[in-house]
Amino acid sequence: MDEERLISKKDVLEKMGISYGQLYRWKRKGLIPEAWFVRRSTFTGQETFFPQDKILERIARIKAMKDEHPLDDLAELITTRVNAQLSVALAKLKRIGWLDDELLRSCCTDGLPDEAVSVWQAFVLGVLSRVRRSARDEEIGLVQRTLEQEKRKGLLDRVSEDGVQLYLLRKRIASGGISAEVSVVALSDEGAIFDPDVEVIEVVDLATIVQRINLDLARGEEGHERESMEGEEE
């Protein structure tokens, strides 16, 4: 892979006709990822550079969308749009068996986009497809709710950094002639220990799921570049 071309911050501002204030604001709102800010020492002191193609494309997109949407919503919209470029992924998910109509019905009540899934959706689908072979319907729902609850707290980042396991557990409680079974979903580091009465139904290594998605996306890149170019022409 050849090194990405970099562009200095002041060239970005000049080229796109934006101000420092806008750039910093967009960064704060999560519209421009931290990882794109590449700090380099130059003879005049510190300077910030960006991967040229990515930053120019992103700023053009923000500028085009910012009048119609509040800045706070834009981050989500932009990421979905960017992720929507990964439309190949959906077909691939089907091919690797992460997706079928039944699963779609049970977990995408608000409707799945026609052909695109975001990284997050793909992640959830991947996990659900792993647990579904042994889980009951309500447990699938429980797993999904657990993931969604942790989404805001940056579960995806944590998964890639620390490695997180998802456990689906059942425990039967019997007393006085009445017995009940309780389902529990837990997220934990590797090697969580449960009491002897707990039955571990399924353990999913979330990092593996993320890796599979990333692999998929990497392979799909070529195809999607072409598609997104076509999309630009509208």
Partner: protein, 245 residues
């Protein structure tokens, strides 16, 4: 499940388990053992939350310690607060001493005491009149700093940045107070890089300043100034390399 949430007040010494409460008030010495969710948290004695804290309003006039992330609509510190994690608030006001190990994000951040942040500080409006030490990036639409002690940030960026040295009686008094809190030292701002559309600096030391309209006021020592529209340099300021770009 919706268990009845209660209000708890610790006025002697005590601790409570984490959980959801309406109001938690600690006026003696108290400790919350887990994560805390409350509409209101008041610490006027010495209080510690071991886990994460999520609250509508947090008021600390004594000493507060937080073992995890803090998220609040409004957080006011007039005593001392130490957070071992990131802080997120709509409004964050401190006139005491404030310390965060993670990033701090607020819509409005006002500080007249002293504070130290290990990560970045992000705000729409940032006002400081005491002393501070930000190890990461300070970024806000509007940054107003009344130098009241040693101020430092690795990088500063935004739309308008205005740094003023103590001049009026009021800020001199505050400066004295901040000096006591920060352990003395010059009322100056140090950074490696300052970038904004409108920049006005006094008593500032920085390697690089970049902006559209830049005013380098008295007491500044700047390496490179890159400006696109105007540059004014006060006679008591030093700019090594002024460059119009």
């Amino acid at each position: 499940m919706c268990a009845e949430r209660q209000s708890i007040s610790i006025s002697g010494s005590g601790h409570l388990g984490g959980g959801e409460y309406v109001r938690v008030s600690i006026s003696g010495s108290g400790r919350v053992d887990g994560d805390l969710v409350a509409e209101e948290l008041r610490i006027s004695g010495s209080g510690k939350v071991a886990g994460r804290t999520e609250a509508g309003q947090i008021t600390i006039s004594g000493s507060g310690r937080f073992g995890g992330a803090v998220r609040a609509e409004e957080m006011r510190v007039s005593g001392s607060a130490k957070v071992d994690g990131p802080v997120e608030a709509k409004e964050l006001k401190s006139s005491g001493s404030f310390h965060a190990d993670g990033d701090v994000a607020a819509e409005y951040f006002k500080n007249s005491g002293s504070f130290r942040v290990r990560g970045d500080v992000e705000a729409d409006l940032f006002k400081a009149s005491g002393g501070f030490d930000i190890e990461g990036l300070l970024s806000a639409d509007k940054i107003e700093i009344q130098l009241g002690g040693r101020c430092a940030a690795r990088e500063i960026g935004g739309e308008t940045i205005r740094v003023e040295r103590p001049g009026s009686l009021g800020s001199a008094l505050l400066g004295g107070l901040a000096k006591m809190l920060t352990g003395g030292g010059m009322a100056e701002l140090r950074a490696t890089q300052i970038e904004a559309d409108e920049v006005h600096l006094e008593n500032t030391v920085s390697d690089v300043v970049r902006g559209k309209r830049v005013e380098i006021g008295p007491g500044c020592r700047i390496g490179t100034v890159e400006y696109t529209e105007t540059l004014k340099v006060h006679e008591d300021a030093k700019v090594e390399r002024p460059q119009k770009v």
